[in-house]
């Protein structure tokens, strides 16, 4: 085995640029994806049939198809209708759309997990639907949905590598470029792998700490109440 990790140093600027772009894309996709997921989750439960059916159809379509073909379609459909936007933006939009349907399902499951009585008693004290949602239901939902939201975010980091197929020059793409220039696939891919792994482990650890904190705080609050209806 003759490994030469010097090439990584030589090509580091390119790899670093790709790494930064990956982080930017994932961040953008999260910022777009979670609100969109919330909209879809509420849309699915809407009283209006058209909204609920189209939200459900959108969620099912995106959940049951590979991300790669979604990205390809998006990449080729937009110019088809004369809309020309850079591949990076297409990548962010694609990743956000992909993430949003999973976020939607997580948020919906979180809202469903809160006993219906919570909403009903909030409504009976005179709060409007939105007041009781934002003040009573959603704060309780947060604790339940945080772990799956975190997992989904990790999967967005991973799926972003697929954007290399539509010429977005993120981490995977820069690895392919360096590999093509140096003919040293092993060193390059190992380093890239460690970068992805590092980012994901970092996010996972942060989430774990935050979750523990949230749990401790809520058990303190709950310990004060003598009710036997403790949550979770």
């Amino acid at each position: 085995m003759d490994l030469d990790f010097k090439i990584i140093l030589d090509w580091w600027p390119l790899i670093l640029d790709g790494f930064k772009l990956t982080l930017v894309i994932v961040f953008g996709a999260i910022l777009l994806g979670i609100p969109l997921g919330g909209l879809l989750a509420f849309g699915r439960q809407s009283r209006f049939k058209i909204i609920s059916i189209s939200a459900t159809a959108f969620i099912e379509l995106f959940r049951n198809t590979p991300f790669m073909i979604q990205v390809f379609l998006l990449f080729y459909v937009l110019p088809f209708y004369g809309i020309r936007i850079p591949a990076n933006i297409v990548g962010i939009i694609g990743l956000a759309l992909f993430g949003s349907v999973y976020y939607a399902e997580i948020i919906r499951a979180g809202i469903d997990a809160i006993p219906r009585g919570q909403l009903e008693s909030a409504r009976s004290t005179g709060m409007s639907y939105w007041q009781s949602m934002t003040n009573i239901v959603l704060p309780q939902t947060m604790r339940i949905i945080l772990p799956p939201i975190g997992n989904q975010t990790l999967s967005l980091v991973k799926e972003s590598s697929i954007l290399s197929t539509i010429t977005v020059q993120e981490l995977t793409m820069s690895a392919l470029i360096v590999q093509g220039q140096t003919f040293r696939p092993f060193e390059v891919f190992i380093v890239i792998t460690l970068l992805y792994w590092g980012v994901n482990e970092l996010i996972a650890t942060c989430l774990r700490i935050y979750e523990r904190r949230l749990k401790r705080r809520s058990t303190l609050v709950l310990a004060g109440t003598s009710s036997n209806q403790r949550l979770s």
């Binding site: 379509l61 198809t65 590979p66 590598s161």
Partner: protein
């Protein structure tokens, strides 16, 4: 340009051929990972080794923390680059694209299957082991007749969803020149310059496959539900 549906129709026979290969690869990969995953689960429970559990934990964290596309590249591009034999001789693991693809998907899916089975195993009551040993069942009969049937029944929904994950992972193999549904559609639209129509056909096929598979979970559960008389 106008959307012309006839391009989708023309592409359909070849797309369906590609879909068949997609299903084959996914099925082989999933069956392999289910087998290996089951063996690992049984083995780790029987020997209860801390070291093995630690190694598995790192492996699972690695697989879950890195993109599948990179794992495929590692198997297909990076692995042949290392010579495992010290000295003058050469020992390289160099696989064709299909084999490398199936190996990469299996290595990936094994991690998830093992996690699913671990969760399922934790849900099996201790009394089951005790009752089995009271009947004199040990080792092979214990697992074959008592534990594994319950384990698989409990884990049908997550296992089916893992199979859809494998199906959705197959288009990545187009990147290493495996001619499956994604690659076929790329070949067709690079010849006729109508990507939207062709990709839409592939999109619908993928959707139908995954939708049917994910809905089959309920049927499977009913089929294998324990019947108590």
């Amino acid at each position: 340009m106008k959307f012309n549906f006839s391009y989708t129709i023309d592409a359909l026979p070849r797309l369906l051929e590609g879909a068949l290969i997609t299903i084959e690869i996914a099925a082989i990969g999933f069956i392999l990972s289910l087998t290996i995953g089951t063996l690992i689960t049984v083995f780790r429970t029987v020997i209860q080794s801390r070291l093995l559990n630690a190694i598995l934990a790192v492996y699972i964290s690695f697989i879950r923390g890195t993109p599948l596309l990179i794992q495929i590249f590692l198997v297909y591009y990076a692995l042949p680059a290392i010579d495992f034999l010290p000295g003058p001789g050469e020992l390289r693991i160099d696989m064709g694209p299909v084999t490398a693809g199936i190996v990469a998907i299996t290595l990936n899916s094994v991690a998830f299957v093992t996690e699913i089975l671990r969760g399922g195993l934790a849900a099996i009551h201790k009394g089951q082991y005790e009752a089995a040993s009271a009947l004199g069942l040990r080792n092979y009969p214990l697992w074959r007749k008592v534990i594994l049937p319950q384990l698989f029944m409990k884990t049908i929904p997550p296992l089916v969803s893992e199979f859809t994950q494998v199906l959705k992972a197959t288009p990545l193999l187009a990147m290493i020149t495996v001619v499956e549904l994604m690659r076929v559609s790329q070949q067709i639209f690079s010849a006729n310059y109508h990507p939207v129509e062709v990709l839409l056909g592939a999109f619908v096929i993928y959707f139908l496959i995954c939708f049917v598979v994910s809905r089959s979970s309920i049927l499977l559960e009913q089929r294998f539900a324990v019947r108590r008389f």
